[in-house]
Symmetry: D2
Subunit: 423 residues, 4 copies
Amino acid sequence: MEKLKITILGAGSSYTPEIVEGLVHESEHLPVGELALMDSDPERLRVMTAFCQRFLSRLGSSISLTSTTDRREALCGARFVITQIRVGGNTQRIQDEKIPLKYGLVGQETTGPGGMLKAFRTIPVMLSIARDLEEINPQAWIINYTNPTGLVAEAVTRYTRARIAGLCSGGLFPAWSAAKALGVPAEAVRYDYVGLNHLNFAYNFTVCGRPVRPEEFDRIAQAAAHGPISADLIRVLGLVPSPYLQYYYYTSQRIAEVRRQGRTRGEEVLELEKEVFRAYADETVDAKPAALQKRGGGGYSQVALGVMKAIHNDQEKTVIVNVPNHGALRGLPDQAVVEIPCIVNAAGIRGLQMGEMPASVWGLIAAVKNYEMLAVEAAVSGSRETALLALLAHPLVRDVDLAVPLLEEMLAANRAYLPQFFQ
Amino acid sequence: MEKLKITILGAGSSYTPEIVEGLVHESEHLPVGELALMDSDPERLRVMTAFCQRFLSRLGSSISLTSTTDRREALCGARFVITQIRVGGNTQRIQDEKIPLKYGLVGQETTGPGGMLKAFRTIPVMLSIARDLEEINPQAWIINYTNPTGLVAEAVTRYTRARIAGLCSGGLFPAWSAAKALGVPAEAVRYDYVGLNHLNFAYNFTVCGRPVRPEEFDRIAQAAAHGPISADLIRVLGLVPSPYLQYYYYTSQRIAEVRRQGRTRGEEVLELEKEVFRAYADETVDAKPAALQKRGGGGYSQVALGVMKAIHNDQEKTVIVNVPNHGALRGLPDQAVVEIPCIVNAAGIRGLQMGEMPASVWGLIAAVKNYEMLAVEAAVSGSRETALLALLAHPLVRDVDLAVPLLEEMLAANRAYLPQFFQ
Amino acid sequence: MEKLKITILGAGSSYTPEIVEGLVHESEHLPVGELALMDSDPERLRVMTAFCQRFLSRLGSSISLTSTTDRREALCGARFVITQIRVGGNTQRIQDEKIPLKYGLVGQETTGPGGMLKAFRTIPVMLSIARDLEEINPQAWIINYTNPTGLVAEAVTRYTRARIAGLCSGGLFPAWSAAKALGVPAEAVRYDYVGLNHLNFAYNFTVCGRPVRPEEFDRIAQAAAHGPISADLIRVLGLVPSPYLQYYYYTSQRIAEVRRQGRTRGEEVLELEKEVFRAYADETVDAKPAALQKRGGGGYSQVALGVMKAIHNDQEKTVIVNVPNHGALRGLPDQAVVEIPCIVNAAGIRGLQMGEMPASVWGLIAAVKNYEMLAVEAAVSGSRETALLALLAHPLVRDVDLAVPLLEEMLAANRAYLPQFFQ
Amino acid sequence: MEKLKITILGAGSSYTPEIVEGLVHESEHLPVGELALMDSDPERLRVMTAFCQRFLSRLGSSISLTSTTDRREALCGARFVITQIRVGGNTQRIQDEKIPLKYGLVGQETTGPGGMLKAFRTIPVMLSIARDLEEINPQAWIINYTNPTGLVAEAVTRYTRARIAGLCSGGLFPAWSAAKALGVPAEAVRYDYVGLNHLNFAYNFTVCGRPVRPEEFDRIAQAAAHGPISADLIRVLGLVPSPYLQYYYYTSQRIAEVRRQGRTRGEEVLELEKEVFRAYADETVDAKPAALQKRGGGGYSQVALGVMKAIHNDQEKTVIVNVPNHGALRGLPDQAVVEIPCIVNAAGIRGLQMGEMPASVWGLIAAVKNYEMLAVEAAVSGSRETALLALLAHPLVRDVDLAVPLLEEMLAANRAYLPQFFQ
């Protein structure tokens, strides 16, 4: 049986051991010969490679581990290229979170102006990876969970022909809520799902093919309530929103809460990562450190492994992926990347028809998509005017008096990572 | 030559004399036999009828004036039915303006939550007029400038087969700006124009068929700058926005300004109207009172007369009208009423293809349209849940913590005018 | 484990034993408790029930067999309702084939005017079944392979809310051709597939996810060549057409050939069926008679079982099904039923995005779809004018001088089965 | 007042004097300074220039006449460029008519395979003109009535940015029929109109804005009946078809008729033209020769003058023009040129929303449009395969056994005019 090469770009990330663990557990369905770790930071790469080697040994795996800072070498021959890069690291993330707050706006890694700046730093690097693959390994799949994953997928599909699966674990959340609410396995739950990454809505729930009854939907609403998002809101919408919708439907409350806490999520993560990396660097440690739990984001590797297995084994699987629209959601442009249920198999990833978006939210989705398309264009062109238009189109900004100085400050704070804007 | 009957519903409005004056001036092209004034307020009707009679005499017109509080009598035999009603009067308008302000939101007659409540009061009455016409005079045209004109047009076209021209003078503003900037007649200026009533954008300007040069567009931008909307914003957008876009692009500044002034536009108008009506009631007055100037909105009668002339004389004329979309603007639903250039002639009103909306604003237009469709549905059904969804879909509200109490307070303040919500 | 009731309407058909055999083989994945046979012809039903009983015994199956001429009794409690009715029997089919030939037109069971008359006889009965299910068993699935399956699916989905899987074995043909050409299992082959039942095209072939090379497509073209459809045509189109496309691309040759043969397929089948039924009626026979082979159409039961298993077990499976378009194929109306790849699972059947149809055939597909929509409307309304419009819209008829007398003759020959046209 | 230069390409055509006459009559609204005649045939140009000079003198016109065989000189400075070229002349037209007949197919100048070959000869020349204009005179308008005008417009709008009005007098025919039937001026009649050049349908007739009654439509049907197209067919369709639809709805009858006559229209025209040109060459003749009447096609100059006046004077006018679809007709591609009502003014030509095409004919329109798009592509690329696909897509050909030899024979017969196919 053919053994695969899988490559991880940004392998210095603390998520890497979870992928390693997943690959070992799934080795029957996804037979990996070589796992290539690549990172632009030699020190993080060294620590993570050494840890993964110990971790693989402990798990008794025969996967061969290689390690390089040469990206093209890492890409060569890979069947899947897992991208989990973080341009500018958590230091820049903290800027993404803090600067908007000064203007009374949401400061968040993927949502709002922070997400735009992350996209500005990330998209040029992701495009460069995609172009390398176009040239040296066009059949490889990028398995992306670099955020903002929707904008990354839009950039890669619009400007290159590389194959990309734009993933997010958020597509599983409604299943988890319904499973918890109704006492059924998550696998028995299906639903329609439309929107964008971190701006999506699930509805038309079925359990084992049977539409849920109104009182069952009420219980799902209870289970899906998250932070300020109440079961009442879910009931009125008739839709289960992504947790990130809290930034839209409870804007003031969220901003007040972050201000009250005094510390952003990025600052917490920076601390956590230090703790996690101390553990990784300890040569006696050969298991996932406890602190990793607090890091979050664990569902990603489940989604990524599911997609890689379905592609490799030509096994049909419905997965929620970020793909170009091409008519799946009425009213959005063809090229616009949307997050929808797709069928994944050896031939690739194909969206299902979703038709009309729900009457209560199609305008919000369109508004954010408009922002996203402008942001991707600005990320590539480095045009300040397009960047300003993106902020004016963003439902969480829109106000000229805020957008103009905010943009200047955020660009300046990211100057080292934005050559396209500072030539 | 056949002489027409034209009916004015809401004839007690201070706008009526302008229509009368317009009809007299255009009598060659629009030969009116009978002008029927109808109002549900007998006293206002009496005063206005007496004034119009004196005014017509002074102008030497042979138009026969009739007056009734019986709506069906007024509708019978009319070729055009001009609707300029104001359900709840300026007293309720002041509520529309003041209540949102308490929540830190835009308080405005047509834009934001105030416009929604105005729609809730107005749409049932307009539908009742449209159904009367369906029954007794289906060939008549409703010439509407009752606000919110876009929502009124959407309700009438969605729920009845009455013929309606949903007008607004705003479609002329870009021509006026360009004419002023370039020293050409407004008639020589043409442009593409997309969006919704009070949420529209003009672009692709030509003068005598020649596309304007960039430096000419800069001058148009200077001339079109209005209140906080700067020439800079217009240049970045590449579009001339409706003045009402100030509530979207300069939200905080506008709210601060109204708070600073301490008095809403509705309160001013209430004062002005008293002054104007004192003049009308004075039996020695037979000309338009000077105070009327300050009342504003004068362009309406120009648009309305242009449309009536084009229909009556089967004369081709491009006019900006609120019509169901049917593919004119890509991405919006077919039934959604949009404000676009239309060709008007005896056969009716037909939109021109506008294709893709400009890349910088299509999402905002979609978001507001989503609100509008929900608001129209709530206005008809009286559903509080749909009304809440409308506020959550509105880019100027969206926040659940504001929308829920705001809705309750606004419904309560309009209880007398909202039987559909209080059964 | 819950055992299912499966009902066969038109159980007197010679196809029934194949379904019985399939159910027995798949009993592990599709556990049938009761198999209800229903037919309006008591004698055929009696013979077939007795044979199936013997057949089940020989196969050692524990499926309980019931038999009734009461349709509602048969529908009650069924999970799946397999419909394989033939209104008017093979006698009327022979008329469908012979009358058009007189006019120099294609005479065929599903393609051309013959298919329209079959639809006229069949659709009212299928709608009556669907309405019974709506009332007494709305969760049941109609598993239809009554022809013309595309028109039947369009009628049922347009006029009722019954759940229907409109199947045809033709969706498998391109896989069989590619498998034969390339020496791979049919399961390893995937392709895009667009069009209508018996008017479809496959392209973008992959094997194990790898796009086929041009020389491989040439070999597929050789293998898919069928009757007059040559490999050359397939290469020029770049698409593998349904075998039924021979009636479109080789019209004269096909008509000449049938005339040369002197006997229609219906006449052959009538003979074959007599032979088959003699075997079924023989109480010593407990196996499928050899003559059944010549009857054809065997792939149906494979498709039907695959769909029922996927629904029952909530197992993802891509199947080519006739479903309402809803944007899957650009340019066709939303309600138009199209034959496309769908994902089938417990929640139902959902089309995949196919986007633009191939540049060489979209117009032909649209033309035939237009005919189909008019034919369905005529089948329901019984309007001769709509029926004439359907023939004028059909690419194989279109000529007024032929369509008018042809329609009269065909309606007259079917008078006993077309109450909607003869009231 | 500025005087215009108008250029006629293909000025040697017998239509030229009609344009000259029209320009003289309309000189008040369309002040022509210079009329430039250009033709690639020096002798025809010489004769026509001399005649036009005499004709202008007799009409007392001050238009200055110039004459050149240098196309770029003729294009330079022109406001309007009237194109009426005939590549290959009437000799090739006769081939277009005769060769298909041998195969039992419609042989016609614009409809069927003949039209395709005319497009193959014509499109490269028209693109070369358009590219010259792009370079030296981008604001000029091509006023095209070179056939096939729909395919020419599609080629020019798809491959260049030159401005083109793709005209045909056929858009007026329904008005003429209705005017004759109802005794009203043609100007009082309006209608919806959809389709392609020579494949269009008019409906929703109004007279002075009033929808016609059923009995009035019956009278229009009587008046619009033309050749084999009967009032009965028009009533069943509910649409007034282009006279060219006779080739689709009465195919056999038309072919039989042409065979019966023994002489094609092209052969007649060749004779007529000789007669007409003898008259033009006679230096004593200074008026339009009587034989010109028999030549037909007179409405063109009326349409062309109307369009030029509307553009020059920025006067609104609804004219039926061939323009890219961009959503005007649902279901057809954006770039597909369609023949629909447009508003013409100084800013250009803009289609009106037509929405859904009529239920009885949308498929036929799509089928012919598919052929047209393939034919335009083949005309530009010179690909025999694409040309074959165009014939297979054409409702009047489709049969492979006919299309393959027909294509070879027609290409061979046009070899001298098709460098793109014979390199």
